[in-house]
Amino acid sequence: MKRVVVGLIGSDADARPVLRATIEAARLFGSDAEAVQGRSQARFARSRAIAGELGVPLRVLEPAPASRLVAEAAREEVTCLVIGVPRRPFASRDERGAVFVDLAVSTHKPLLVVPPGARIGPMRRLLAPLDGSPEISRALQRFLTRVDPAGIEIVMLHVCSRDEAPAFSDHALYELEAWGSEFLARNCPQGRLELRVGAPEDLVLDVADATAADLIVLGWDQLPARGQGRVVRRVLQGAGIPVLLLAARRASSLAHRPTTASVLSTV
């Protein structure tokens, strides 16, 4: 049976939003929800009570899940791992931050991150920032094959830096129609596209608000200090909704952006 597993970590003051996010994620992935926690951890009883109240079975892991979640994620039946994090998880020195970093840079499974104070609800509108690299697009497409498409709306976001401005825009409407339609065809034909100009790390949260997204789906190369890593850091720092991280191998090119000088492989 497929499972979405949430790791309830150490000083997690309130497991309720994390468990609720787990339930929504389980719906998204068509899986069962399950919580894991160490018996020795603080507030174990409290967490077990909330899990029981929300109908999420809680499995005891010994030693504590902090050291076991990477292995847990690797289990075949696990479709997604869920974890609550502090506001600046990459910089945090507490246990949740450390566990998050361990997981985020190593797991190949989708990792649902629940920032403090996140609004938790049905995950119907998904905002997926795409940089146009094939790796990130493939990660998103893989994810979309694993979820139930019914009732989901995918909003793609491509943020074009000023230096990456297109070569031509002959017409304010048609050119963008053509470019956007081709971007979708290359990256995720079933979605719609939002375009912005600027730095993605500055704009993802704005667009999430503007589009009333329920979930941000972020592909990244699992390198926190560069590329999409910068975006992940900024998004986790400010997100008011859960963020699903998708592991993608390091982006080597931007061939999925409809601007390329290699249309003709052989002439």
Partner: protein
């Protein structure tokens, strides 16, 4: 529905299995020697060859007999009377005569006629040779009754009076022995003596050959035949790779080259050459030696017939200078490639999708002028699809696609394991609306697909298969019109031949029987008939349009690619609504902009005037709508809309989204009024280039109606200066503006040009001329720079060339819309467009100052910009920069530089490429009845050669660094800077030499 299996006698070629790989394919023409190759000798029964040649021609194969003898001998023996579509030629008398043989027998096409002096020289040469040989004691005889040649018989012995080919070894030995006995060394010595005798007689270029018995001194030989047939086949769209040359004497003979080696001319350099002769001394490199004599020849001819009967997919020439080849399948790039490989006939366009379904495809068939929807949402309607042959293949497969620009043929080859599916597709300009597909082979688990399929985005159409096998489709447009299509599939064991006929009506749905009637009008064999016509039609187009850039093959290809798609997008009859992306994709909804009039039309007027006329006809039929538009906006005359579709009313969308997702107003529809003068300019240019008297009244109507618009649009200030306020110029980064130089000067040109027309009252003429003189144009005499619009010079000076990370770039993304609006940053040529379009309306010598000022301020964020700048930079002599921008313009689609090629090709940019070459580098410009020529050649180019049509004449213009050559047929007047006015005519070029800045006739 009847299918196209021709009722021809079967021919089994059992020996095909042992053919070398180079022969294991379909050829389109056979060029062959007669005596010894096709028949054993001139007395042999040629019935089998006759039947084969007639069968081959009936299946579209062209055949050419090359022989030294005359038509009586060859036609008497062959007696073929082919009915086509393949053609039979007799290239006789050692290259001096050419006949075409049809159902009524041979007809002379060409004869080399010797001058009296040449005849005398030939006789003198033969006599000198005979005397020289007789001096050695060798008795010889002169045979003088041959066309353009004289023969010296080296062995006038009755025993060797007419030796058969199979005794050539004996003959050669006898002759060599005879020569040796007289101290002459051998045949090679005699050949040298003959060459010397010819030179001494005044024939430095004599053709000296031998058949062992004779030495012949002539004006022509088989190489002339080979060159002639290579040229003729090219005129029929048959490139050398598609030609099979057959002979029996390629190897050396008596120290000289074998007679058939003369057929190995450079023009047939990529042909496959085969010897069926004994070839005792071997064959030259590159010639396949099969031996076997005439029996092998008939087997090879039979094999070619069999390939056609079983439906082999024809090859294309694969000349890299003319072929867009794309290897492999990449779902990310597939839609771009489909646009690049689009085939169109001016009536329908079909994207170059694979014939096998695939998820990455955006297959589309568009009919010119068939719009669906209302107002800004009006768009070209997707039509039923005809080019899908097979269902999806689950596995990854190999793909090779090639589009032959010379013939408009798209060939596909799909491989999966050992299975191969080949396909050829074309959409023929000879029968616009007809589309043809042949496939052969198959792929596993891929099933055939019905001949027509409704496009996935459309509802409400019908597709049904009728009892006779015709598949019929109909699709209505909203609010009116629609398309009907009929297609028939003819299946062989491995082959599928599909012909689809489309009829589109923008006002009403054409009758259901129209496609059927069009299909029934095609003679059998349908595929071969249509293919032959199609190749011929494209070859003819290029005869008036060819572009050669010696020294820059990449640019040459890019220019040909651009011109190919331009020519393909436009019909030659009726009207053409030439949308910004032609028929290659859904981009720009098929709306018609100034792109059609200013960027595409000049190219068409100079290469295919009939097509240019249809572009103007679209405007003519919408002149009433333009009159209404002017009236509705409170003006007189006619105002053409910025974006136009079915009705000719403005269909510009009122808003769009910017890259920040914010709604922005699109004001071009209201304010980009210069299009009205642009249409008038196009009509005038067309007249200048074509002298089409029938169009003159239409042009007059355009010019007068548009002049009236400007006359009512211009306002005069207190000082009497004329202004045009609140407009948008070609640089669309600034809006609205007053007194845009481009708009004002184009209006001025429009008024002055219309004032020259008959039918204008004196008072109106005077008023127009006064208004034209009163219009401000922003020219600053101190700097020589035109101010782009009132207040432009006061904007923030910003040299985008210096700080942009690259150009072209969309400056309003780079800098933001507000900043761009406040700065001297241009999207594209604005003032400079005047120097390009109406150089007579700007101050002489002002080009350089304006280039220096505006080019560094131009982001080139429009695809229309690079080509025009290339043209102007060339005029200014800044050739390196000119080539840079021209190369970029030529690669916009090939490299998908703008990222939007998937939605269609940038036709206006393609037109600008041609204009840059013709107007910029060659310096062509119509000046009344004369064509001005003022070449500027970049150092890296050896020559630029273009073919154009000018006022009824076909011109070939070749510019080299120090000279120019012009061929004209029947005749044309040309001028060059500082040179005389010249009339060019005839086969020989007029040669002009550069002397500093001026030119003079040699």
């Amino acid at each position: 529905m009847a299918t196209n299996s021709a009722a021809l006698a079967p021919w089994h070629s059992a020996h095909a299995e042992k053919l070398p790989a180079s022969l294991d394919r379909r050829f389109e023409a056979l060029v062959f020697d007669w005596d010894g190759t096709a028949v054993p000798d001139r007395a042999a029964d040629a019935t089998v060859v006759r039947r084969l040649v007639e069968d081959a021609c009936a299946l579209g194969l062209h055949a050419a007999v090359v022989s030294g003898t005359n038509v009586r001998n060859i036609d008497g023996q062959l007696a073929a009377r082919p009915r086509g579509p393949g053609r039979l030629y007799l290239l006789l008398n050692r290259g001096s005569e050419v006949f075409h043989v049809g159902p009524n027998g041979p007809r002379l096409l060409h004869r080399r006629r010797a001058t009296r002096a040449e005849r005398s020289a030939l006789a003198g040469a033969a006599a000198r040779l005979a005397a020289e040989l007789e001096h050695h004691g060798l008795a010889v005889a002169i045979v003088a009754d041959r066309l353009n040649r004289q023969k010296v018989d080296l062995i006038p012995d009755p025993a060797w009076s007419d030796p058969p080919k199979e005794r050539i070894d004996e003959l050669l030995a006898a002759v060599e022995d005879r020569l040796a006995r007289h101290g002459l060394g051998g045949l090679s010595t005699v050949l040298e003596l003959a060459q010397r005798a010819a030179r001494e007689a005044g024939l430095p270029d004599a053709r000296v050959t031998t058949d062992a018995k004779h030495v012949e001194i002539g004006l022509t030989d088989k190489s002339d035949s080979a060159r002639w047939i290579a040229g003729e086949l090219a005129r029929w769209g048959i490139g050398p790779r598609l030609v099979l040359v057959l002979g029996d004497e390629f190897g050396p003979l008596g120290g000289g080259a074998g007679s058939d080696a003369l057929m190995l001319v450079p023009e047939l350099g990529r042909a496959t050459s085969v010897s069926v002769g004994a070839e005792p001394a071997g064959v030259p490199p590159g010639v396949v030696h099969l031996g076997g004599g005439p029996a092998e020849f008939t087997a090879l001819l039979g094999d070619q017939i069999e390939r056609r009967r079983r439906g082999d997919v024809p090859e294309i020439d694969l000349d890299p200078a003319w072929t867009l080849q794309i290897e492999g399948f990449d779902p990310q790039l597939e839609r771009v490639r489909e646009a690049l490989l689009c085939i169109a006939d001016g009536c329908i366009g079909t994207r170059g999708s694979l014939v096998v379904e695939n998820a990455a495809a955006l297959p589309l068939v568009l009919a010119s002028g068939l719009y669906d929807g209302y107002g800004p949402a009006e768009e070209l309607m997707p039509c039923p699809l005809w080019a899908k042959a097979r269902t999806r293949v689950p596995e990854r497969f190999g793909v090779r696609r090639a589009l032959d620009l010379r013939t408009g043929l798209l060939r596909q080859e799909l491989r999966l394991g050992g299975d191969v599916l080949e396909a050829l597709l074309f959409s023929s300009p000879t029968r616009p609306g007809l589309a043809v597909l042949r496939t052969n082979g198959g792929l596993p688990r891929s099933r055939p697909i019905q001949a027509l399929e409704l496009p996935g985005t459309r509802k409400g159409g019908i597709v049904r298969e009728l009892p006779d096998g015709l598949v019929h489709a109909a699709l209505r447009a909203d609010p009116e019109g629609g398309v009907v299509a009929g297609a028939v599939d003819d299946h062989g064991p491995e082959r599928l031949d599909r012909v689809a006929a489309y009829a589109a009506g923008s006002r009403r749905l054409p009758g259901a029987d129209v496609p059927r009637r069009r299909l029934e009008a095609i003679s059998t064999p349908r595929f071969e008939t249509l293919l032959t016509e199609h190749r011929r039609a494209w070859a003819r187009r290029w005869e008036d349009a060819e572009i050669v850039i010696e020294g820059d093959s990449e640019l040459e290809f890019g220019a040909r690619f651009a011109l190919f798609h331009l020519l393909a997008s436009v019909a030659e009859k009726g009207e053409t609504a030439l949308g910004a992306r032609g028929l290659s994709g859904p981009g720009y909804r098929g709306h018609v902009f100034w792109d059609a009039d200013v960027f595409c039309l000049p190219t068409l007027a100079a290469t295919c005037p009939e097509a240019a006329r249809t572009v103007l006809e679209y405007r003519r039929r919408r002149l009433p709508a333009a009159v209404d538009y002017a009236r509705a906006t409170g003006h007189e005359g006619a105002r053409f809309p910025w974006e136009s579709a079915r009705e000719g009313v403005d269909v510009t969308p009122p808003t769009g989204l910017d890259l920040n997702g914010e709604t922005v107003p699109i004001r071009t529809g209201d304010l980009e009024e210069h299009v009205t003068a642009d249409v008038a300019w196009a009509a005038s240019l067309y007249l200048d280039w074509t002298a089409d008297d029938a169009f003159a009244p239409v042009a007059r109507e355009f010019l007068i109606a548009t002049a009236r618009y400007w006359a009512s649009r211009i306002s005069l200030d207190a000082e009497g200066r004329g202004h045009i306020e609140t407009v948008i110029g070609p640089d669309e980064y600034h809006e609205p503006v007053d007194d845009n130089a481009f708009t004002n000067v184009m209006a001025r040109w429009n008024l002055r040009r219309a004032a020259q027309e008959d039918g204008v009252s004196p008072s109106e003429r005077s008023r127009w001329l006064a208004l034209a003189d009163a219009l401000v144009d922003g020219y600053d005499a101190a700097t020589g720079v035109y101010e782009q619009f009132a207040g432009f010079f006061a904007l923030e000076p910003l040299l985008i060339a210096e700080f942009a990370p690259r150009r072209p770039i969309v400056a309003d993304v780079l800098l933001g819309r507000e900043r761009v609006a406040r700065a001297q940053v241009l999207k594209q040529a604005d003032v400079l467009m005047l120097h390009h379009l109406v150089p007579g309306e700007v101050v002489p010598g002002s080009l350089v100052a304006n280039l220096d000022f505006y080019e560094p301020r131009t982001a080139h964020g429009s695809s229309l910009s690079p080509g025009i700048h290339a043209s102007l930079l060339a005029r200014a002599g800044r050739l390196e920069e000119a080539v840079h921008w021209l190369r970029l313009a030529s690669r916009i689609d090939l490299d998908d530089i703008g990222g939007s090629t998937a939605h269609g090709l940038h036709l206006a940019a393609m037109g600008s490429v041609w204009q840059a070459l013709a107007f910029g580098f060659l310096g062509l410009r119509a000046d009344g009845p004369r064509l001005e020529l003022d070449p500027q050649l970049p150092p890296a180019w050896r020559a630029l050669e273009m073919r154009v049509r000018f006022r009824g004449a076909s011109l070939r213009v070749r510019a080299e660094h120090e000279r120019a050559l012009v061929w004209g047929h029947p005749q044309a007047l040309i001028t060059l800077p500082g040179g005389p006015q010249l009339q060019v005519t005839g086969r020989e070029p007029t040669v002009l030499e550069r002397r500093g800045a001026t030119w003079s006739a040699r």
